[in-house]
């Protein structure tokens, strides 16, 4: 009976914390909704946030693919690029089915139309790649996706007649707003809304029976298959799903919402490794953690471009300044690397994991499980109603 009360108390605590978590989440969302209306903030700050939202989508979708489904792919940036490049090329050149004698002119496509097609093509390529990857696991899967990613990047680089090579490809602008301030505000809300929608959809998938199947596959593919999980279907499904999400994000972001043009260098393995690093720092198995990790990392990398240390007591520098200014350049990536090393060594579930588990009350459930596993006599669950007898 005592133990049941303990459980009830822990459940109460868990529910209480979860409520608190929802309140905190609500406050964070309110902050992001209010932020662009703060007149003291420059457009530059909004631009940094827009970029943060984009990378949050990239990292959280990779967390779904790798952290939850166990498909450690390096092809994420390539799928993003497919969405953006296809949207840009279709808006510029239209579509021609030469053998059928059918040509659809670029004018037939609005910016939204080209984004939708870019997203669908990213999904289609995801379908093919997902099918090819069926028999590959672990390192082989990673190597395959690196090869695919490089193949796509080199194609975009060398087919410069069509893609613009390293000069990049300019997509049709999604928003045609003349006033710079208003444009930045609308772009901010658009990207934020996209992030929220993507997170909600991914959360729904991760917490549906599909999410359970994906986790089962991650833990032991053969066992999952033996228990009736259609591994082929769900592997392909998650590849297509995440490819479409990043394809959509790329097509929108590079339609002059976050950037005016996409270049092949954006698809380099280095950029992909940053996406992975953001997810690892935030928490690979948590969509919110990965998204927050990406947003905070992007913000910090931007904030650390210039480190200013004000001198106290009226002291001055040799050239008469009142502060030391350090242009960090590439050093900020070195500092970022230190954080990464620390995370991997001491907090493998991500720096934000303790907060997320606390707010969700998951730590209580974990304690419960551990104590049961350890067979602690005090914590043996008594049969329901045993006390009444």
């Amino acid at each position: 009976m005592v133990y049941l009360r303990q459980i009830e108390s822990r459940i109460d605590q868990g529910i209480g914390r979860r409520r608190l978590g929802y309140i905190v989440l609500g406050l964070i969302i309110l902050f992001f909704l209010w932020f662009p209306n703060d007149t003291s903030q420059s457009n530059y700050a909004k631009t940094v946030f827009i970029s943060g939202f984009f990378y949050a989508i990239m990292s959280s979708s990779w967390a779904l693919l790798a952290g939850i489904a166990g498909q450690f792919s390096f092809g994420h940036m390539a799928f993003m690029g497919i969405g953006a490049y296809v949207a840009g090329l279709i808006a510029r050149d239209g579509i021609m089915f030469a053998t059928l004698g059918i040509a659809i002119t670029p004018e037939s496509f609005s910016a939204i139309g080209s984004i939708i097609i870019g997203t669908l093509v990213a999904g289609l390529v995801g379908l093919v790649i997902g099918w090819l990857l069926l028999r590959l696991r672990a390192a082989y899967l990673a190597l395959f996706t690196i090869a695919f990613s490089e193949l796509f990047r080199i194609m975009m680089l060398t087919e410069y007649d069509y893609t613009g090579g390293s000069n990049g490809l300019s997509l049709r602008p999604l928003l045609q707003i003349a006033d710079v301030d208003t444009a930045r505000q609308v772009e901010y809300y658009l990207m934020f809304a996209l992030l929220i929608v993507c997170l909600l959809v991914m959360h729904w998938v991760a917490n549906s029976p599909i999410g359970l199947f994906l986790r089962a596959m991650r833990e032991d593919e053969d066992a999952a298959s033996a228990l009736g999980v259609n591994v082929v279907r769900y592997k392909i499904l998650i590849f297509v799903f995440t490819s479409m999400i990043v394809g959509l994000a790329g097509a929108i972001f590079y339609s002059d919402v976050g950037s005016e043009r996409i270049i092949p260098e954006q698809l380099e393995v280095l950029q992909m490794s940053l996406i992975i690093a953001y997810a690892v720092i935030g928490g690979m198995e948590s969509l919110i953690g990965a998204a927050a990790g990406a947003f905070i990392s992007r913000y910090m990398l931007e904030a650390m471009r210039e480190v200013v240390i004000s001198l106290p007591f009226g002291l001055t520098t040799a050239d008469g300044g009142d502060a030391f200014v350090w242009e960090t350049g590439a050093w900020r990536f070195a500092l970022f690397g230190v954080v990464m090393v620390f995370t991997l060594r001491y907090m493998r579930n991500g720096l934000l994991y303790p907060f997320i588990t606390w707010f969700s009350g998951r730590d209580l459930a974990m304690k419960e499980t551990v104590s049961k596993r350890d067979g602690d006599g005090d914590d043996i669950v008594e049969p329901m109603g045993a006390d009444d007898e």
Binding site: T47, S51, S259, E260, I263, A318
Partner: protein, 442 residues
């Protein structure tokens, strides 16, 4: 104890003295306001960091020299000049974000930069919208100065009235392409082998040059290589196995890879030789690096963008000396151009009588006529002369018409790039010859 106190006071005095001297050294009185110019350069990967660092050095050197000469004098008031460099990372997205920061948070009055064409193209709209007078010193893409008429992707211009605030003093791609081909055709070559890196630099350059050769009746064989390749013997053996040696081997490969290739080609005796001309990459101008890696590369020719050493003015010699002191190598053209870009803005602000009136500064840049390290700067076409005559390419809008592109040739092992002979165009020849045959001296 007393001796100790005196000692401490003495040390403190010695520490303070240089500061006092530094302040007393200033012979100019500056206004409270400091004119800020934003610089945009790649200072971290994936951008070309070495190029960005050289540009950053040039921006700051220009500011130092200007301030040492009492800054920017506007209506009798001297303003200190400061250059704040932002890291574009060679990415359009980061370039746009940093440009916005420079404009909005640092409140720059004008801008200079950029290294990568993609960054230039991506930031032009923002610079125009915010009316920031800008002088670009390195991007080559034709559209950078094409007034928004020629969107590379064939899309309509974002700004119906064109790009009015952006100028360029580096050459447009189309201005660079023809020089090597014209030189080789003038020597009568008709059998060309091109070794080309498989990148967006190598492939389009090769396509452009091959078309020019073929139009003149020459035959062209093209061999593609990957950057980073270290062993070129299989490729070179194929060339060696030909019945007749080619007239020229044109290397369109950059960086260390071009050095490796040139050395192996020279070592095998393929080129430069009596039969075959060696034309290597423009990186060969960095002679210290070239001779360290290509000790057998004497008599190789290379193209050079930017002023040739024999035409160095006193200003250029002085600037080169400062660069050599800082970096131990000859100054690259884009660093010279970056230095000049800051001076053009300074001169234009003074003539405009304002550091903040964008329209007046743009008008002053259009009317610029100033001799700097790379030569005399002026702009033929702009709002002061908006009608480009038929046949004049659109990129001539706000484009400095005189960037020098030449072909140079080494004729002594270990020779400095500054001493190499200019062999083409004829007007710039330094040794009275269009080609130095291997084994001879000009």
């Amino acid at each position: 104890m007393k001796r100790r106190a005196i000692f401490i006071c003495l040390i403190a005095l010695l520490a303070v003295l240089p500061m006092g001297i530094a302040q007393a050294d200033g012979h100019c009185e500056f206004a409270d306001y400091t004119i800020t110019i934003g610089g945009l350069a790649p200072l971290s990967a994936p951008g070309a960091v070495a190029g960005g660092v050289a540009m950053d050095w040039a921006f700051n050197q220009a500011a130092d020299d200007i301030n040492a000469d009492c800054g920017v004098a506007i209506d009798g008031v001297n303003y200190m000049l400061d250059v704040v460099t932002g890291d574009s990372e060679g990415s359009p997205e980061r370039g746009q974000a940093v440009t916005e920061r420079l404009i909005q948070e640092d409140g720059v009055d004008a801008m200079v930069g950029v290294y990568h064409s993609a960054v230039g193209l991506a930031t032009m709209g923002m610079l125009e919208a915010n009316q920031i007078p800008t002088v670009f010193s390195e991007p080559w893409n034709d559209n950078v100065s094409a007034n928004g008429i020629l969107e590379y992707d064939g899309q309509p211009p974002r700004f119906e009235d064109g790009i009015d605030h952006v100028f360029r003093i580096s050459p447009a791609s189309s201005m660079v392409g023809s020089v090597v081909v014209d030189w080789l055709l003038s020597l009568g070559v008709d059998d060309v082998v091109m070794i080309v890196e498989n990148t967006d630099y190598g492939q389009p350059a090769a396509a452009d040059e091959a078309a020019r050769f073929e139009a003149a009746g020459a035959t062209v064989s093209k061999i593609d290589v990957e950057l980073g390749t270290e062993d070129f013997v299989p490729i070179l053996s194929r060339i060696q196995a030909r019945a007749e040696a080619p007239d020229v081997i044109r290397i369109l490969v950059t960086g260390e890879t071009s050095f490796n290739l040139t050395q192996q080609m020279s070592e095998l005796g393929i080129a430069p030789s009596e039969d075959t001309i060696c034309v290597t990459n423009q990186f060969a101008f960095q002679s210290d690096q070239y001779w360290a890696t290509v000790p057998d590369g004497n008599y190789c020719a290379f193209n050079r963008v930017g002023i040739i050493p024999s035409l160095f003015s006193d200003a250029a010699v002085e600037l080169n000396a400062k660069y050599e002191e800082a970096w131990g190598d000859i100054i690259p053209s884009f660093a010279m151009a970056s230095y000049d870009a800051v001076h053009i803005l300074k001169d234009s602000m003074e003539r405009a009588g304002s550091y903040s009136d964008a329209a007046a500064i743009v008008g002053a840049i259009e009317a610029v006529d100033i001799e700097l390290s790379q030569g005399r700067y002026y702009f033929d076409y702009g709002s002061h002369n908006p009608d480009l005559p038929e046949g004049t390419p659109a990129f001539m809008w706000h484009q400095w018409p005189d960037p020098i592109v030449t072909v140079m040739q080494y004729y002594e092992t270990g020779q400095s790039g500054l001493e190499a002979a200019v062999v083409y165009p004829e007007v710039y020849q330094t040794h009275g010859t269009g080609y130095i045959v291997p084994g001879t001296s000009p």
